[in-house]
């Protein structure tokens, strides 16, 4: 399994470690993974009833993503009971079942489709930037990073764009209320409930009054010669909704913090817009936001860890991407890196469905922003904190700039 050498040392234990709420990780994400990797290619946490194994190296993380026979995605939250995992289709399905659903969705998120909708993405991006440019300031998180991918995604789905504020509030409650208190659990499940009710109504509305959107398409799609059930439609819509709203937003917060702090990189991208796609790959590699998880399907040794069926493996894409065995100067950000390889969109059958759209959105944002707001900085004294959870991002990013072009 996975280039295993016999373990010379026992796998380190980090008592009670949980990446979703660990204060040190929240302060030092993603560099803290490098410190952990120096102690071994994996470590174990005892914060759950089952073992939770954290893989730190590129090869191990990738193989775990690829080997869905050994590592099931029937639950993707490492510290949740399996029965707590609601179905998110196709993510929580394993092959071969998974592929049936994935094939329905692929054409909507293909590279070709992403290129086709790029002009609409650009239009929306410009509109947002122009809405605050003259004021000389914005909170990148609330004024741009969250609204931009959200509204594009809502258009694809067929959701009413003017309600994006409400949806983002629900997402916040669902995904960023990460502690384990009874109150948080109630908040999470009631937000989830409201999202489900909303999506249920949307599905019914599209059945009665079809439109040219993804939800309508799904109401007409079939699997194994039968139409999708309401439960399947909800499970698909719910996953797309969550995956589409929070991820690009998180990436944008790291990109803009980085560029605010590095005027030479801003200059480089302004003067060489053709190099933006390569820079996007380096941002994706260096500031990877996703830390997901899989269930061990049967007893095995993997990555030097004695795993048992029912254990979980955590796959921190940021740790894999910074593996010095994989990439030269992995802990350095190189804006013009020309040989790049990363697992920021995962690997194997569940490779991020939205990756092509995400790349377009990120490149367009960098290009259009710097045409309009070439120079800016983080507001002095701002306390910029971040969340890690399953999808990392900054909580706030107040930016200011000279308003000379008015």
């Amino acid at each position: 399994m996975g280039k295993t050498q016999p373990p010379t040392n026992p796998v380190p234990l980090r008592p009670r470690f949980n990446h979703e709420i660990d204060p040190a990780l929240m302060r030092e994400y993603p560099a803290l993974w490098d410190t952990f990797r120096a102690d071994g290619r994996a470590f174990r946490s005892d914060a759950a009833r089952w073992n939770v194994w954290y893989l730190m190296g590129f090869d191990d993380v990738r193989e775990a993503f690829q080997r869905s026979d050994l590592f099931s995605s029937r639950t993707v939250i490492a510290f949740a009971e399996e029965k707590e995992q609601m179905p998110w289709i196709p993510l929580t399905l394993d092959p071969p079942e998974h592929q049936k659903y994935r094939r329905l969705l692929n054409p909507w998120f293909s590279e070709t489709t992403a290129k086709e909708i790029a002009p609409r993405v650009r239009e929306r991006c410009i509109e947002l930037i122009e809405s605050f440019r003259a004021t000389g300031r914005c909170d990148l998180v609330t004024d741009f990073a969250r609204l931009y991918p959200t509204t594009i995604f809502m258009k694809i789905m067929g959701l009413p764009v003017e309600e994006s504020g409400t949806f983002l509030g629900w997402i916040d409650e669902m995904m960023h209320t990460t502690d384990d208190s009874g109150v948080s659990r109630t908040v999470r499940s009631s937000a989830q409930q409201r999202i489900m009710e909303y999506l249920g109504e949307l599905i019914n509305a599209r059945r009665k009054d079809p439109r040219d959107d993804l939800v309508t398409y799904l109401t007409r799609a079939s699997i194994d010669d039968r139409p999708l059930t309401d439960m399947e439609l909800m499970a698909i819509s719910f996953l797309l909704y969550m995956a589409g709203l929070d991820t690009v937003a998180g990436m944008l917060t790291y990109i803009f913090r980085h560029l605010a702090d590095n005027p030479d990189h801003r200059k480089h991208l302004r003067e060489h817009p053709e190099s933006i796609p390569d820079a996007v790959e380096e941002f994706l590699r260096y500031y990877a936001i996703v830390t997901t998880s899989r269930v061990v399907t049967h007893d095995l040794e993997f990555g030097g860890c004695p795993m048992r069926a029912g254990d979980r493996v955590v796959l921190p894409t940021a740790a894999a991407n910074r593996d010095p065995n994989q990439i030269a100067e992995a802990d350095h950000f190189k804006i013009d890196r020309s040989q790049n390889r990363h697992l920021s969109f995962g690997a194997g059958p569940h490779r991020c469905l939205g990756s092509h759209l995400a790349r377009v959105e990120l490149a367009v944002a960098i290009e259009e922003w710097h045409r309009r707001i070439p120079d800016y900085r983080i507001e002095p004294g701002a306390n910029v904190t971040q969340h890690v959870a399953g999808v990392a991002g900054l909580d706030t990013l107040p930016l200011i700039w000279e308003n000379s072009r008015g």
Partner: protein, 64 residues
């Protein structure tokens, strides 16, 4: 020089297409990469090598 796509490993990341669109295309439905040319023209060898190296799944290989 030839390049071969292992379609069991390919998961449609499309890095190869982004790096060398002259050589690679993607199937919209199953999202697998396909090689358009029988052999790699000399002027594309450098880009092809980069595409092979950047594939996150190691799905591409060069045959000389």
């Amino acid at each position: 020089m030839k390049v071969i796509v292992d379609s069991n490993r390919c998961q449609g990341h499309a890095r190869c297409r982004a790096i060398c669109p002259e050589l690679f295309e993607l199937d919209d439905l199953d999202q697998k990469s396909r090689v358009k040319l029988e052999t790699v023209p000399p002027e594309l060898e450098k880009k092809t090598a980069r595409a092979v190296n950047e594939c996150p799944e190691d799905a591409l290989s060069l045959v000389r």
